[in-house]
Symmetry: C2
Subunit: 258 residues, 2 copies
Amino acid sequence: PVRRIALYGKGGIGKSTTAANISAALADLGYRVLQIGCDPKADSTKMLLHDASIKTILDCVKEGNTELSGMIHEGYKGIMCAECGGPRPGTGCAGRGIIVAFETLEAKDVIRVCQPDVIIYDVLGDVVCGGFAMPIRHGYTRDVFIVTSGELMALYAANNIAIAVNDMSSKGYARLGGIIQNSRDIECENDVVDAATEEIGTDVIFRMPRDKIVQTCESNKMTVVEGAPDSVQAGLYRELAKKILSLTKGYAGGMKGE
Amino acid sequence: PVRRIALYGKGGIGKSTTAANISAALADLGYRVLQIGCDPKADSTKMLLHDASIKTILDCVKEGNTELSGMIHEGYKGIMCAECGGPRPGTGCAGRGIIVAFETLEAKDVIRVCQPDVIIYDVLGDVVCGGFAMPIRHGYTRDVFIVTSGELMALYAANNIAIAVNDMSSKGYARLGGIIQNSRDIECENDVVDAATEEIGTDVIFRMPRDKIVQTCESNKMTVVEGAPDSVQAGLYRELAKKILSLTKGYAGGMKGE
Ligand SMILES: Nc1ncnc2c1ncn2[C@@H]1O[C@H](COP(=O)(O)OP(=O)(O)O)[C@@H](O)[C@H]1O
Ligand SMILES: Nc1ncnc2c1ncn2[C@@H]1O[C@H](COP(=O)(O)OP(=O)(O)O)[C@@H](O)[C@H]1O
Ligand code: SF4
Ligand SMILES: [Mg+2]
Ligand SMILES: [Mg+2]
């Protein structure tokens, strides 16, 4: 069976950066990864594709391109990349791209065709409704990790996401795996994040420092794991990837490397 | 006729701080102001009410309290305060509170009862759909001002809001009044905001500096205009309020002070 992991968090908090680097680290370890961007911004997989713009699944559907090969693109070390996309702002539900994309991927039997070991959903978490709630419903996700900093608005969003996951845990089987702190160097950030995490009733599974090397690799259109593999930050992303693997075991049947 | 102004922008950008200070400045000038928070966070009017928690309109409706006096509360210098509220995260559309609130306020004839000179809607702008789009539809708003900083995510949201306003301008009569820069002291912030504003096709109507006095007054549960009236920042909020008055003229019939 496939690991199904979702990264949720406030827009701009660092979900895509973190997701892409986790995917790259997993690919380096030999895992087959499918990363699906669930954000109307549609740039979750950009760094895995060296900034190549791919058609969103919503756009493929709108244009009548129903081939899976038009929707899923190979990036760094064979990571399979997809972007749900979203409607024009103001026209209907912002999460509609996710709903359409998930229905389309299911109809095209993406799991059987692509055979991933790990699926990573990178999902906008400012509001957890409509399409943005879909990844944690109906069994699409098993483990949800919330990316946050010590900033008030990021923690407020984290709390909302936790509420949504807990409320929906009976309907699907999504559970809250923990908090990933993506630091913004605010005062007493660790204490602030710890306090909020305790209130939510979960654990901080990793603290990622803020590091300029992220920007450096970004300007070279790469993840840190690819662009600066010997850096401290790359080592931390690898550590985070291993931590996530250890927290998402317990699946019946064979799993690579376990 | 009543001025109907909406402040939109990314969550955490400073909409409520700016809206409350504009309202306070207008109240000091003798205007009757109705400020309506359209954010599930429901804290738009907190500083005008000295941190008193008011029932959201959605909660009033849920509890069967249909009296307008339970929904509209008087704050600083008689400013009329209301919060739309929002559903529990994950349960239905996050904008539903706004939809229910607007229908309820219309049904209770709030304009005729409260007789405001100015209505200020403070609206979450991370996604402009469902209830969050309602203020710019059907004539509820005439002038939309987008609050942004030089941060990428804030500008991305600003662009989305502008797209939504332009697309809907034929249906209602909402127009984009301009950009309010709420500075976050990032590098070359003025240039960055100017460039994005030009791409949107509008103007920066005001630059508000980042100032610790906002936090000081906040900890005293007040707006800057009330808590530090002789400060530079209070003077700037008053200037912004006057600028907004000058940009929102052109209404048939009498308007206080014009
Ligand atoms: N650990 C980090 N250190 C430095 N910069 C970071 C870090 N994580 C993210 N960033 C920066 O923050 C910005 C927003 O991150 P992104 O992953 O796009 O957010 P999201 O996907 O949550 O909207 C990116 O431009 C990225 O360069
Ligand atoms: N000009 C400013 N200077 C300093 N702090 C500010 C300024 N504007 C807003 N803030 C701070 O930013 C935080 C978020 O602002 P808020 O108005 O609640 O954002 P929003 O309503 O857009 O979510 C507040 O805690 C406030 O203290
Ligand atoms: S369900 Fe959420 S994303 Fe969809 S219209 Fe409502 S607020 Fe927007
Ligand atoms: Mg992203
Ligand atoms: Mg607010």
